[in-house]
Symmetry: C2
Subunit: 199 residues, 2 copies
DNA sequence: TCATTAAAATGAGCGTGATCATTTTATCTT
DNA sequence: AAGATAAAATGATCACGCTCATTTTAATGA
């Protein structure tokens, strides 16, 4: 029993490592599930016993990193940072963790954390979104902000957040410094909006 | 020769009308290209002689409406509206035209006008984006705005714009009034940002 | 030790969007 | 009117993500 469970984890890891390697080198769309299975040394069908879809498999890789990034943030944050600094730290912590996967972040997040559907067919994406938004809500609450309806702040935030990730994923400026600039603007915009709605 | 060209247009129209009908009733993803071809009375392969992909076919429908909406805007706008009003009029004119297609706008725009890729495999989407952004740039220029880098204002705008379309496409509030509220906030945010960057 | 049985792996097969060699149709030439 | 030529339609076929009936593996109990 114990052996079996460990073996299962090992297989899941083999699949994840194979997918990581191929997505990074060949790209997300150009990697087939048959290739991943072959690289992992299993049958095609077995892959789907572990991950219900190619999308979910890819998102599992990213979800883990985003989650780690959020933990980095919780570890680093201090109580005397202001609202904007808190948000900046959260987002940049996630992005730092995502760096190795930058090449295939786009097509995966586009469908799993889409602006266009609150519920996707990818649980890993849905929970990543929910957890990130909860972290943001906590930050807002800690700073006593938000004078606007929740659906407005959530929609605005998610648009700006995805915009940052999208920009970053194809940012070819040195050290992705343009992404930093965009983050500054986006976060300031959001801060102003929820603290001073009439502006 | 003339007859042939007219016949071609007629076939293209048959395909568009068949697709429109099916996308609206069955949904975008649940409609197969074989169904569309059957409904249009042609072979499956023929469909792809007219539209290189299902995505492009769907986007052709939306691109036409968005383009019409933009023309509506050009017709209605007056020189003494302020910047925010201009933007509001542009976006709401497009949305009005898109109303009949609301049910399948999401999955199509998500991939054809994605935040995550400037160039998609859908020319109709690429040019719709380019033309809309040009209209916005013209509005900005007409009002003598923009004190921030172009890549920042473009990224910010596109995030907010897609956020509005995404929200609208699933907005179940009466008369989509929540969408109007989101538009107000989004546009004000954008206006403030490009006119007074330090805020 | 060897049945029993539940879990896990397997790969043939499905429906999809898309391709392309072939066939059909329509126009032009003589 | 018949032949030549180009354009357009066709549907068998492909590769893909994914499913599922079957086979294989391994833990359990007599």
């Amino acid at each position: 029993m114990r052996i079996t469970k460990e073996a299962k984890k090992k297989t899941a890891q083999k699949i994840l490592r194979a997918a990581e390697k191929l997505f990074t080198s060949v790209g997300y769309k150009d990697t087939t599930t048959r290739q991943i299975a072959e690289q992992a040394g299993i049958a095609t069908g077995t892959l789907f016993n572990y991950f219900p879809s190619k999308e979910t498999l890819a998102m599992s890789l990213l979800a883990e990193e985003i989650s780690q990034g959020r933990e980095d943030y919780f570890r680093r944050r201090s109580d005397d940072e202001d609202f904007s600094e808190d948000l900046f730290l959260l987002i940049s912590s996630e992005i730092r963790r995502l760096k190795p996967y930058r090449k295939f972040v786009g097509p995966v997040l586009e469908s799993t954390m889409s602006l266009f559907s609150k519920e996707t067919s990818c649980p890993a994406g849905d929970s990543t979104r929910a957890e990130h938004l909860q972290a943001v809500r906590d930050i807002i609450h800690n700073h006593g902000y938000s004078k606007i309806p929740d659906y407005i702040s959530t929609s605005l935030y998610w648009s700006l957040y995805l915009g940052i990730l999208a920009f970053w994923s194809t940012d070819e400026s040195r050290n992705q410094e343009e992404t930093l600039a965009l983050m500054d603007y986006s976060i300031n915009v959001f801060t102003q909006t929820i603290s001073n709605p009439t502006l």
